[in-house]
């Protein structure tokens, strides 16, 4: 016979109550795990996309604010500010640049609003910027009316290499020269066309959304950045891809704030729930507790007994919740993908690392334990005389 045995038997007394208490902590732990996994996952997915995976190290834009720039560069957002093409001549003089990619990016929503097509006008330089690209069929752009399409677009439009593709928005016909293998990024839903064609489609000849630059030696980043700044006209900006991804992550800030509030609310609810239930569980058997005091239970014994009860629920609930969170976070990640207003990264959004689950487990267990203190102290304060209360 042990204290643990006694504590467990008390938990069995009202199974539904015990289950609900554990469940409320499990929900907290699961929410915490999911949110941490999404938070960590989204940041690293965006950083992966924009810093680690693309070969683009620097952007030349006319937008000074990284958030604005991110919306233009990552999603084809509209900006009245354009980079002039003649800037390319100046860039050509910089020795440290391995590749220069001028591009024109724009998004067109179909009339019925069901879909947004992203067009990206590019030069051959993109091939050295995207070393991961593989063609599922066909090859690179050949003519002015050529188009290379992402895997999703090929599937949605039932397109094959060599087929003609008509776009009603621009009243233009294209020939599919290549279909990309799936990259799980925005590229899957993008139409890549020659730069000049893209410029003509939106009547912006000679104008660019931005210029992407790949450095020969990334360790010279600061140097090159300064050199470029000196070279560019005053209203041009040189942004590192890191600043850009940070810009995107700020988009995510609002979503993140909502998630944190969710966790917080889940916690508050379960904290009050647990304190309330444990307090009820104590007060409801005050005579029994008083009798335990008669037969020699000290204050410490009762604190031990009540905290042991709560801790058992807390540990079980938190562990179940953390595991559930691990299982659910990829699901939540995919859900978030469809809701994201900001940049949708290619990698998995949720990264349910064991460390995150462990953290959620420990935190929730501590919260559970803390919740047991007040009811435990109330139990300890019950005097043996209570045994004689007539009610």
């Amino acid at each position: 016979m042990t204290f643990f045995k006694v504590a467990l038997s008390n938990l069995k007394r009202n199974r539904v109550r015990t289950l609900l208490t554990g469940l409320s902590l499990a929900v907290s732990a699961a929410t915490l795990t999911v949110v941490l996994a999404l938070d960590r996952g989204y940041s690293s997915a965006v950083t992966d996309d924009l810093v680690n995976k693309t070969g683009i190290h620097l952007y030349i834009t006319k937008e000074g604010c990284p958030i604005e720039a991110a919306s233009v560069i990552a999603q084809g957002g509209l900006s009245p500010l354009y980079v002039e093409e003649d800037i390319l001549a100046r860039l050509a003089t910089v020795a440290d640049l391995e590749a220069i990619l001028p591009f024109k990016l724009f998004a067109v929503t179909t009339d019925d609003g069901s879909r947004t097509d992203i067009f990206m006008g590019v030069t051959d330089a993109i091939l050295s910027m995207k070393p991961d690209w593989r063609f599922a069929a066909g090859g690179w752009l050949k003519e002015d009316d050529s188009v290379v399409i992402g895997a999703d677009m090929a599937q949605i439009e039932f397109l094959q290499v060599g087929q003609r593709m008509y776009n009603e928005n621009f009243d233009r016909e294209f020939t599919v020269t290549g279909i990309l293998e799936r990259t799980y990024s925005q590229d899957d839903g993008t139409f890549f066309v020659p730069l000049a064609t893209a410029q003509a489609m939106v009547q912006r000849e000679g104008k660019l959304s931005a210029v992407g630059l790949k450095l020969a030696d990334i360790s010279r980043m600061d140097l090159v950045q300064n050199q470029l700044r000196a070279l560019m006209p005053a209203d041009y900006f040189v942004l590192g891809s890191k600043e850009l991804s940070e810009g995107i992550l700020q988009f995510f800030g609002a979503t993140r704030a909502i998630m944190i509030v969710m966790v917080f609310v889940a916690f508050i609810i379960s904290v009050f729930g647990i304190i309330n239930t444990m307090l009820m569980a104590v007060l409801e058997r005050r005579r029994e507790i008083a009798y335990l005091k008669c037969v020699g239970a000290g204050r410490l014994d009762l604190v031990r007994l009540i905290t042991l009860e709560t801790t058992s629920i807390a540990l079980a609930g938190s562990a179940a919740g953390a595991l559930l969170g691990m299982v659910l976070s990829p699901v939540a990640g995919n859900l978030l993908r469809t809701f994201l207003v900001a940049y949708v990264p290619s990698g998995p959004i949720a990264r349910p690392e064991p460390m995150i689950a462990l953290m959620a487990f420990i935190l929730c267990s501590i919260v559970g334990l803390a919740c047991s203190l007040y009811p435990a102290l109330r139990a300890a304060r019950i005097v043996p005389m209570e045994v004689l209360r007539n009610d």
Binding site: M1, T2, F3, K5, V6, S9, N10, K12, R13, R287, E288, Y291, L292, K293, C294, V295, G296, A297, G298, R299, D301, V383, P384, M385, V387, L388
Partner: protein, 221 residues
């Protein structure tokens, strides 16, 4: 000189109920010697339970002193009182206060757990003695009233206290079960346990060797 297990000296206890003060006990002096078997009798409201609580160190007197096994309890800290109660006194109440989710054996072992003893050999022996040897793993809800009280008595004895205080232990039982309980107390007393019990029942008083009458908070003889 006979050894006193507990002594009450001029013990009074007042309760305030609103503006009115109830003198539940008035200058009671009582010595309980080792091996005594005392019945406390008196009308309802005469102060029997009040006296038992003070004897059991569950309540402090308003004035006067209580000496348990030679130690005055006034100055004792709460944890010291807990230890004294644990080792010296076994309580039996009219309600049995068995923990409904623990088996009979576990209920009986409970006081031992609080004094740091996790074994249940003695609990088994005691349950055997009270005639519940075959009910060890039953839950209290599966026992009759008499059986529950016998389990409660076994529990009161598990730490081998020299003194057992029983407040109307047969109050909830029929006469056959009450007799069984009284025979148990007699046997315990023969084995050297000091017993003080409160009762209304004249039949029960016959089992006891000494009777204390309480009337309006005073011992009348």
């Amino acid at each position: 000189m006979t050894e006193h297990i507990i002594e009450l000296h001029d013990v009074s206890k007042n309760y305030t109920r609103g503006v009115e003060t109830v003198h539940a006990l008035q200058e009671v002096t009582l010595n309980v010697s080792k091996g005594d078997f005392i019945a406390v009798v008196g009308h309802s409201g005469s102060g029997k339970t009040t006296m038992m609580n003070i004897m059991g160190c569950l309540d402090h007197p308003s004035s006067g002193s209580v000496i348990l096994q030679g130690r005055p309890i006034e100055q004792a800290s709460e944890s010291a009182l807990t230890r004294m109660r644990r080792s010296a006194i076994g309580f039996v109440f009219q309600q049995f206060f068995l923990v409904p989710t623990l088996t009979v054996l576990e209920n009986v072992t409970l006081p031992a757990l609080f004094s740091g003893n996790h074994t249940n050999g003695r609990s088994r022996d005691l349950l055997e003695m009270v005639g519940l040897g075959k009910r060890l793993n039953h839950l209290p809800g599966q026992l009759s009233g008499g059986e529950m009280q016998r389990a409660a008595i076994a529990r009161a004895l598990v730490n081998s206290p020299p003194l057992v205080l029983a407040d109307e232990p047969t109050g909830n039982l029929d006469s056959r079960n009450a007799d069984m309980i009284m025979e148990l107390f007699e046997q315990l007393n023969r084995d050297g346990v000091t017993i003080v019990l409160v009762t209304h029942n004249a039949d029960i008083v016959k089992h006891c060797e000494r009777t204390v009458h309480i009337e309006d908070g005073r011992i009348s003889q």
